[in-house]
């Protein structure tokens, strides 16, 4: 035994940096008079305390309450442990796996109170933060997390802040990002120089007179305007070139949120969570808060968000009403975050722009989440979630390129996976450039550059080509829907045998045809495709996605109807007659009408028939309208069943009779809401019939169609009938989750279907 005794070496993992862990440990050790030290090391926290000490048991108990993820070992000391317990400088170490990065956290209740407290030093300080809140990943330059490794480094804490930092009794004891109005980054107007109070007053005045205000948020720039002002919203939409897609609304508190929407406890928890996401909730019909019609038309839901920073608080409090809050960018580019670029461009996006000098290192969009019948789903994984590291046994060292829509990439090392934040649609150059920059930044942070890569099978995807240029090793292809299925396989507690449904708008099938209504039977790790909808054509290819009436006409054609039986209905929907006639000829001749069996397109067609949606303005527009219509119907026994026909070992879902029944019912002036609901029921019944045919009790749901809240709740109701429903709570079921699915598909050997 060494002359200095033996220490207990403790390594703590998980979300342990940037959360005030070390100062809490120091307080605990000091309260027990325990010598030793603690420091951030890599992405972990390491500490040493005496292996024999009367207070050791109490210390370990206290430590376990802070975090359960401990590993202990004994270590012979070659010098004495420091007394009192000391926080040592952080240590960078090479990692053999991926790092757990610190999460960005929205302003906490204590800081909100301080912000409003005139006696506090940080009264009305827009960049107020503490152990529990503030930017982390957004400003991180390298690990481990400490002030010197963030973009806050140039700002030296003033003597008062230094004193608070050193004072174990202070709330901000050892708070890495400590700052105050005197020593912290200053809020100012772009294009002018003004001190804090003036800048924010100017911003408030701009909002109050119906202007569009640019604001630098925790992870990028945003555009805000009063949500009650239809003209302001119209101007904001013009500036963004986003005429139709719903906009999120920033509210001051959960109480204010309750005035706009009917909220469950789970939804309030999501609103107030540190990730501070946009939560999709059901609008309240009897709201007393005026919200302009053009904020989120065509859907029964609205996206609400609570303030993320003190700056948000200043604005939403100052104006006294909800504010539209959306990313600052023109449609087709990613959100703006660079100060120099915003300085050049803010005039085209807003009337005034509030910014500050703290650089954002990793731009991230706000996350979007929803909770249906108690089950949470992340629709967009951005700020507040993108730091999280996932466990994926067998993942190897691979860079997965995901898909083109709602792009996010992922890389793996030693059974761990990082999914990038939501990037956007890869069609445009600015988004692709952002992807490259984020890839570089994350690869650097994790010190990880895998040579092997995986990509979607689709040869026309931009990511397909980018994957090939990025590395010398030929990328492995993973079929789109197999990746969707694999995602659930990795993340959900599924048994050895289950049925996986991958339903979405489109995905390149193994023969280059358009898949989208796939059912796979998974048993003993093997994947077998067993069912799909009967195929139909998409006249005009991509044009059929923008114009769902084309799909509707195609369904009429394939159901054996004559043109005169369906033309009138479409004419009433203001589809030009010449266009209808040309498309019908295309169907008859098979001209530029590629085959598909996409569930998403089926929804589009039904939506077109039952609502006013003959043109889709954004992804999911048509099905959202259909869901909105269906949700006004309480319940109905009516159903439009899809029958199964077995052909060469595949179960083909015949939608033709359902379509014809739907059209007939429409003709008889049945309430379209009932028909919309009945259509949803029919789809569910098809899924359940398949479950019965294959004798499974577990259904795995993936693909963008399962973002439909009505489908979700109808399926969840089936849990009382012994069916278990599975979808991942932490990764999107839409194409945003493809990359992780691709990694799992590789690990499972699902790059070729059986």
């Amino acid at each position: 035994m060494g002359q200095f005794g033996v220490a207990l070496k403790i390594i703590v993992q998980g979300q342990v940096q940037g959360v005030g862990f070390r100062p809490r440990l120091k307080r605990l050790a000091d309260s027990l008079d325990l010598p030793g030290w603690v420091r951030n090391q890599g992405d972990q926290v390491q500490l040493q305390v005496p292996a024999e000490h009367p207070a050791l048991t109490a210390f370990l108990e206290g430590l376990r309450q802070l975090t359960p993820e401990l590993s202990l070992s004994r270590h012979i000391l070659d010098k004495p442990l420091p007394q009192p317990f000391t926080i040592l400088p952080s240590l960078s170490v090479p990692a053999d796996s991926l790092l757990q990065l610190p999460a960005d956290r929205g302003i906490c209740a204590a800081c909100r109170a301080e912000y409003h407290d005139p006696s506090s030093r940080r009264f009305h300080y827009p960049l107020i933060s503490c152990h529990d809140c503030g930017p982390r990943l957004a400003i991180l330059q390298r690990m481990p997390f400490c002030r010197e490794h963030t973009s806050l480094q140039p700002w030296q804490p003033c003597p008062l802040c230094q004193a608070e930092f050193a004072d174990a009794g202070n709330r901000r004891f050892h708070s890495e990002l400590i700052s105050c109005p005197q020593c912290g980054p200053q809020v100012r107007l772009l294009g002018e120089s003004a001190c804090v109070a003036d800048a924010i007053s100017a911003g408030l005045a701009c909002l109050k007179r119906g202007g569009v205000l640019g604001v630098k948020s925790q992870s990028g720039f945003q555009l805000l305007c009063r949500a009650s002002d239809e003209q302001a919203v119209a101007r904001l939409r013009d500036n963004k070139r986003r005429p139709f897609k719903p906009l999120a609304v920033l509210v001051e508190s959960a109480a204010q949120a309750r005035r706009l929407a009917i909220l469950t406890t789970a939804e309030i928890d999501l609103l107030e969570a540190p990730a501070r996401p946009i939560v999709l909730v059901t609008k309240r019909g009897d709201t007393d808060l005026p919200i302009a019609a053009n904020v989120s038309a065509g859907t029964p839901d609205c996206g609400l968000m609570l303030p993320v920073s003190g700056l948000h608080l200043a604005l939403v409090d100052g104006v006294g009403e909800p504010l539209v809050c959306t990313s600052a960018n023109v449609s087709g580019e990613p959100l703006l975050y660079d100060d120099a670029e915003m300085a050049n461009r803010w005039r085209e996006l807003c009337d005034l722009c509030l910014s500050h000098d703290l650089p954002v290192m990793l731009p991230q969009d706000d996350s979007v989440v929803m909770n249906t019948s108690g089950c949470t789903q992340i629709l967009r994984r951005g700020r507040g979630f993108s730091h999280a590291r996932l466990q994926l046994p067998g993942a190897g060292s691979v860079l997965a390129w995901g898909g083109d829509l709602k792009h996010a990439f992922a890389f793996s090392r030693a059974d761990q996976v990082i999914l990038s934040p939501f990037i956007g649609d890869m069609e445009t150059i600015p988004v692709r450039q952002r992807q490259q920059r984020v890839l570089q930044h994350l690869a650097q942070l994790h010190d990880c550059t895998p040579q092997q890569s995986a990509r979607d099978l689709h040869p026309g995807y931009h990511t397909h080509g980018m994957a090939a240029s990025h590395s010398d090793v030929t990328p492995l292809n993973v079929q789109h829907h197999v990746a969707h299925v694999a995602l659930n396989d990795a993340l959900c507690p599924l048994p050895e045998r289950y049925l996986a449904l991958a339903w979405d708008g489109t995905g390149w099938g193994e023969q280059g045809d358009g898949w989208g209504s796939e059912a796979f039977l998974v048993e003993q790790g093997r994947l077998r495709r067993v069912a799909m909808l009967a195929p139909f054509s998409l006249p005009g290819g991509e044009a059929a996605v923008r114009q769902p009436w084309r799909v509707a006409l195609a369904l009429c054609f394939h159901a054996g109807m004559a043109l005169q039986d369906c033309e009138e209905y479409l004419l009433q929907r203001r589809v030009p007659q010449q266009a209808i006639r040309v498309v019908w000829q295309m169907l008859e001749r098979g001209l530029n009408a590629p085959p598909c069996h996409s569930m998403g397109r089926l929804f589009d067609a039904v939506s077109c028939w039952l609502t006013v949606c003959d043109t889709q303005h954004f992804e999911g527009d048509a099905p959202l309208r259909l869901q909105a219509l269906a949700s006004t119907c309480r319940a109905t026994d009516r159903m439009f069943p899809i029958t199964n026909e077995e052909v060469d070992g595949m179960h083909i879902g015949r939608w033709q009779p359902a379509w014809i029944s739907l059209l007939n019912a429409c003709q008889q002036n049945t309430d379209p809401a009932q028909l919309a609901f009945a259509f949803h029921q029919g789809i569910i019944q098809w899924a359940l019939a398949l479950a019965r045919i294959f004798d499974v009790t577990d259904l795995s749901l993936s693909g963008g169609c399962f973002q439909n809240r009505l489908l979700q709740s109808l399926l969840l109701q089936q849990q009382t009938n012994g069916i278990r429903i599975h979808w991942p709570a932490t990764i999107p079921v839409n194409d945003g989750g493809l990359a992780v699915g691709q990694l799992q598909a590789l690990a499972r050997g699902w790059t070729h279907l059986i």
Binding site: G332, G460, G541, A543
Partner: protein, 335 residues
């Protein structure tokens, strides 16, 4: 022997063949080099360098709105020569005829060839005729070869494209492909869609004569404007930035493409070319082109850049996307 249709015997090399040539081909195409009907034409020396090209024409249907396979074969070959900066001089024509092709149709094609050759100022100096059984060829296939004369100090070619050059388009796009497709598929569009087939050599020569420093030219046939730009970017090693809003598309083509789900960028043309000139001469060049009917919509559409290596399209809001080969099958049997 008079018969209403092409028969196998017309290709046998005997009396029927001789009559076909004497009574139909020579009156239409004849000249001092073709008339002797020797195995090959012995041509005079050219002042400039000889430029040589070949092409095959299988357009279906052979008669389409605005043109036919005959004039297309002459004009298309002349245009290929003109794209190098050469003046078209001599053509060869090789016919593969399907047994039972109506002679009247063949005559019309020959007449069309004659007009086109006269307009282009070229001579058909040698040729061949074969006949195959019914079903082995779709009415008529024409293979050509063409010789042109390059009087410029250097040919037009992709290696001469330089960063900063202006990218010009000689006319609107998409008319040929849409017109042919509509006729072939029998789709009633109720639109006035005519092929844009037109001779481009006079336009090139006019530019040269007006002192425009032409670096490169390419006619937009299969693959359309998009295909030509992608090829040229690779061949020149340069990047192109193109403004979508500056690309002229007539309403009839826009409507047809919209209804049928095609992108005008990848639809074939037969009387349109993309040109690369120094930026300072862009306006002057456009004005020269606009003097011609085949250049009435001539305009600048973009710039050659060092900033990238691919072709980028900028939309009305200034957002760029990269141009890539369409995953949709390109239209078959367009030229």
């Amino acid at each position: 022997m008079t018969d209403e249709r092409i028969l196998l015997i017309h290709g046998s090399g005997g009396e029927s063949t001789r009559q076909l040539i004497q009574q139909r081909l020579l009156p239409a195409c004849g000249n001092e080099w073709l008339n002797p009907l020797t195995d090959a034409a012995v041509l005079p020396l050219l002042q400039g360098r000889p430029v040589f090209t070949t092409d095959g024409y299988v357009v279906s249907p052979p008669f389409f709105p605005g043109g036919d396979i005959g004039m297309l074969s002459v004009i298309g070959t002349c245009n290929d020569l003109a794209m190098m900066g050469a003046i078209p001089r001599w053509l060869s024509l090789s016919f593969i005829l399907e047994e039972s092709l109506p002679l009247e149709r063949f005559d019309k094609i020959l007449t069309s060839i004659r007009s086109a050759a006269d307009e282009a100022g070229v001579q058909i100096v040698t040729g061949d005729t074969k006949v195959v059984e019914r079903g082995k060829a779709d009415q008529i296939f024409i293979t050509t070869a063409g010789v042109g004369e390059l009087l410029l100090p250097a040919p037009l070619q992709p290696s001469r494209i330089q960063p900063g050059d202006a990218i010009l388009l000689s006319n609107d796009i998409g008319r040929h492909g849409m017109a042919v497709l509509a006729r072939r598929e029998g789709i009633q569009l109720d639109l006035d869609l005519q092929s844009d087939v037109a001779l481009l050599s006079p336009l090139i020569q006019a530019l040269v004569q007006q002192g425009i420093e032409l670096h490169c030219a390419r006619d937009l046939t299969r693959g359309g404007l998009g295909g030509a730009l992608l090829e040229l970017a690779t061949q020149s090693g340069c990047g192109f930035q193109v403004n979508e809003v500056d690309i002229p598309v007539v309403p009839a083509v826009a409507a047809a493409c919209e209804w049928l789900g095609f992108d005008p960028l990848f639809v074939a043309n037969e009387g349109c070319c993309v040109l690369f000139v120094p930026a300072s001469q862009a306006s002057a060049a456009s004005e020269v082109l606009q003097q011609f009917h085949a250049g009435r919509w001539a305009t600048r559409i973009g710039t050659v850049t060092e900033a990238c290596k691919d072709v980028r399209l900028k939309n009305a809001f200034g957002i760029q996307r990269p141009l890539s080969w369409h995953t949709v099958d390109q239209l078959p049997r367009i030229c």
